[in-house]
Amino acid sequence: MRLNLLRLSLVLAACAQAAQLQVQPEYLRTAPDGEIVPADRAGAGRTAPEAARPTSLSGARMGYVSLQLIVKLSAPGEYSLDLTPATGLQVDVFREWYHALDGEKTHYPDALVPVRMPYASRLPELDNRIPDQKAQAFWVDVWIPGDARPGEYHLQFRLKSAEPAAEVTVPIRVLAATVPDQDVVAIDHNSYGSSWIGDLYAKKRESAGAAFFRSDAFFQLIHAYHRIFYEHRGVFHQLGYGHAGKVGPEFAPALEGTGRARHVANWELFDRHYGPLFDGTAFTGTRRGARPIPFAYLPINPEWPASYLWWGQPGYEVEFVNVVSEMERHFREKNWTSTRLELFFNHKKRYMGFPWDGDEVRFPEDNRYFREYGRLLRKAVPNDSPVKFVFRADASWDMEQQSRDLAGIVNMWICGDGILSWYPETARAMKQRGDIVWFYSGPPRVTQASAKITEFPLQAWLWGIDGYVHWLTVDAGQDPWFHFDGGGTALVYSGERFGIEEPIPSVRLKIQRNAVQDLALLDSFKTQRPEAELRGEAARRFNGSRPEDWWNPRPPMADRPATEWTNDEIDAASAQTRLLLAKTEADSWEKVHEFVMQLAEVVK
């Protein structure tokens, strides 16, 4: 098991002058001095009695197992790291970048720079600029293909330097079980627009010149972002319009005309953007296989495709219905019928573009706009259309009322976690009528326990809902390398500074992926064990809780109009689950993983 790798940590050099090669489990991150980072220390070494039991990394087929390898030298100098892989398994190795946290004198690893074996470098690493760096951590992903033969495999790592060589062998036990292809919770990674792509890939932008945002390189980058999240069992969203309705040209077909004459003039940029995503060819060559993206925002907003100038007048309906009907026909003709296309309103009246809140409705009068757009959408899309249009609403304040008022109109709900935690019945009702239900929050900072990111998929699964949204995942700040803001809005990084013209993953993304993969496998055992038992044991192992502890009592304030609530009251009413999750430690998920592996062991 991964946990026991801590006890497997092999310090192969007996004397202080020797190089060291240590193995750490995925959930214990180390600093440039080789010590476990403060946020993960409480989760280290807690299951000492099991340490005596030699074990190995175990994993199911069509899934990953991960570990961390720590290179330590007693004095600055050059080294090389080599790997003898196990035939039948695929191994990816990444150098962990140590981010200097802005305002703090600490470094945390997060960005993962792909490296090839053998890897030759030196300590301190020149580019990471940490003068007293004594250790370099590497993240090792082992992919177990679907046709791998169950049994034990061995990865052999060797470290050479001016100091005596070190070597470590990591046994990998491949189980007969297979991780299901489909996830039980969708983990979404959100973003806004695409100007940030030009900022993050300045060299590519420069070489493409003024035409960058129409270039193949630009669309390849967009697809690369989809690919990296897909390969990490996630979904990627890019919202294509602003709070006052401006639509990015790559997110919508170009329109012409007004009133009855309003029509699609050009699909070129839209098709280059979405075609490979909607038909799945953007994912050719990935380990999970080519398939269409499951969800995408539509560019529809109060100012597109109909001009707000005509709102409340016949022209608005004509412009809306004509263009959305054209879109439906285009998608049908292209056979883009797998992706759920989301009619979604992100604007808020506080940004002064429109007089109603599309996002997080607080004033119930605003619901009439949703009803009207539901009517327009029904008019534009034939009942028997194979194209999957969905009406999505992000709900918080007025969630309970809104879910009743807009039943049958909105069928995809993205709910604020604190307020949803009061309403298990609302979640159940939405699910029972076939709606898609996710909740939202944001990525944990790197300074939080490594397993913090596993709370979200677990919570979604325990709640019996469909998924979770990280509200922003591509903004690592002005200088994530030497003045890091902690990564609360990033789970991937630009690879440009490493000569990689696409995004690179993070430790947190990998840990999240492994948890989502475990959940898919765990959920598959509900054919053999009661679902309640699986949920109960997962919650118990994670933090000693029961599934019902993950809900908060419905507070008395919920009977008052949402316009009277304060954020303080909301926080107070959500305190129970917040306190529960304050106990999450680095090894919290590891205990769930052990449970999943125990169940998987018996699969023949």
Partner: protein, 191 residues
């Protein structure tokens, strides 16, 4: 003439003199639209846009709840739509993408100004993203004090023409900013 009014006129002159000559068609089109705005935008309706409840919360500052004012921001739908549609029409007087934004003072706080309606391209030289109100912009104060249009080209490549809006009593109650950029960024403000 009071010293304050003299200063306002001087500021207006400085702002106008800071931009290229009036034979610049880019500026001329924006100025034409701004001139029409003064005639077409109804100051009495502008006064009705933001609800009294929202105005009550606007300047409240609760360190425990930084979103208090924003969460309580609301408008009267009909008044908002009426003025917004006029602003959209004004922007269409210009042959290139431009926005007409509505700005209003904060009653009782002459040192503050707030944007009340923005439009599709989100073009403004003055609005820091997300602000419900901000410190009074000198050029807008000039417009409010003098009733003169003022052309501002503070940011390179940007031009805003500020036009006064009056109510039925003849009081200047708002400012329309007709704004554009000489080189538009198609990906900008998509967020």
């Amino acid at each position: 003439m009071t010293p304050g009014r003299m200063k306002a006129i001087l500021l207006a002159w400085l702002a106008v003199s800071a931009v290229p000559a009036a034979n610049d068609s880019f500026i001329r089109e924006l100025d034409d639209a701004a001139r029409v705005a003064t005639v077409m935008v109804d100051g009495d309706v502008c006064r009705k846009i933001v609800t009294p409840r929202a105005m009550d919360y606007l300047l409240r500052n609760d360190p425990k709840d930084p979103f208090l004012a924003g969460d309580n921001y609301e408008v009267n739908y009909d008044a908002f739509d009426s003025v917004k549609k006029t602003l959209i029409r004004l922007s269409r007087l210009v042959s290139f993408p431009a926005d007409a934004n509505l700005w209003m003072p904060v009653p009782g706080h002459p040192d503050k100004i707030r944007v009340v309606i923005r439009n599709v391209n989100e073009l403004s030289q003055f609005w820091p993203w997300g602000a419900l109100y901000q410190n009074m912009i000198p050029e807008m104060k000039t417009v409010l004090d003098t009733g003169q249009r003022v052309t501002v080209a503070k940011k390179p490549g940007w031009v805003s023409v500020l036009a006064p809006v009056s109510d039925s009593l003849g009081d200047i109650v708002a400012v329309v900013e007709v704004a554009s950029q000489r080189k538009l960024d198609p990906q900008g403000n998509v967020k």
